[in-house]
Amino acid sequence: MLLNGVRQAAIATSSSNKNLERAMVSSLRESMHLVSDPRNLDTSVEEVFKLMLGLSCLRYTGPVEIGEPESVTAVVGFGGLLSGACVFRSGASAAIKIAAHMTGMEFTEVDDTVKDGIGEICNMLAGAWKSKVPDLAANCGLSIPAVITGRDYKIHVQAPEFKLHHTFEFDDTSFEVTIICDGLQ
């Protein structure tokens, strides 16, 4: 439900030209190894955190638990040639640290500024990830970020075409970034 809404928004914002899209789909399928290359996601995360937060973060490959009752999730939908979403998820403490690095302010709770910052981080991650594949950069739109906060919720996605799910660590805390592709139009 949530991802469908975000995706529709992304479709509406994409600069779609149907004839061009048909020609590009075959090109994008041929580039599938690039689209689903996990290194693109790692590079995108490193780039966004280094440039916007001045932070180095490392991919963590072990099992991960957010470990906090409250978590923050931001979703940016992809629309156009590729439909899907970029999902950022962290515990409240990681979200607060990220927002503090972005703004130079101190936060004690996940307030509107923290949510805004996490939405913008997810937006930049989605943009950086799609820019790694030229066909995607030109023919895939992004939705406005949606941010969800709360406790004990799960996000369910039905059988995606592919999914990248990576966890990263910085400053003794962690966050997850997931790229879900549920279809090439």
Partner: protein
């Protein structure tokens, strides 16, 4: 550099602060900043304030950055004032659309202070 009156249009208040901080770090210390959360708000600001520089996001609710630029030109608001788009959209097509709509510069998010310095300061000197 003397006072630079700058309009920053972005639906994210955090991003507006980051852009403002980057401009100051790039050397524009005497900034007077006007903020707008959408293209519509940006046009409203320009009806009452004179500015020397406009920086705008593209993906925004209500009125996106490209439509904001088109309306800016159509309503002859801020004539001759340089406009720089700051956005996650980075394809040549998006850059072309922004230039056609009247932007003089384009910065992709995430960005460095050095990129802001290189792409914004020359526009102010030329204006």
């Amino acid at each position: 550099m003397s006072e630079v009156r700058t309009l920053i249009v972005d639906d994210s208040s955090v991003m507006r602060k980051i852009v403002e901080r980057s401009l100051r770090q790039a050397g524009l210390e005497a900034l007077v900043v006007f903020e707008a959360g959408s293209g519509i708000e940006g046009l409203d600001v320009l009806k009452t304030q004179q500015v020397d520089l406009i920086l705008s996001d593209i993906n925004m609710p209500a009125m996106d950055g490209l439509e904001f630029l088109r309306q800016l030109r159509a309503q002859n608001l801020a004539p001759g004032v340089p406009v720089v788009m700051i956005t996650t959209e980075s394809s040549e097509e998006h850059v072309k659309q922004a230039i056609q709509a009247g932007a003089q510069g384009y910065i992709r998010k995430p960005f460095t202070v050095e990129q802001v310095r290189e792409r914004v300061l020359p526009l102010l000197k030329a204006a």
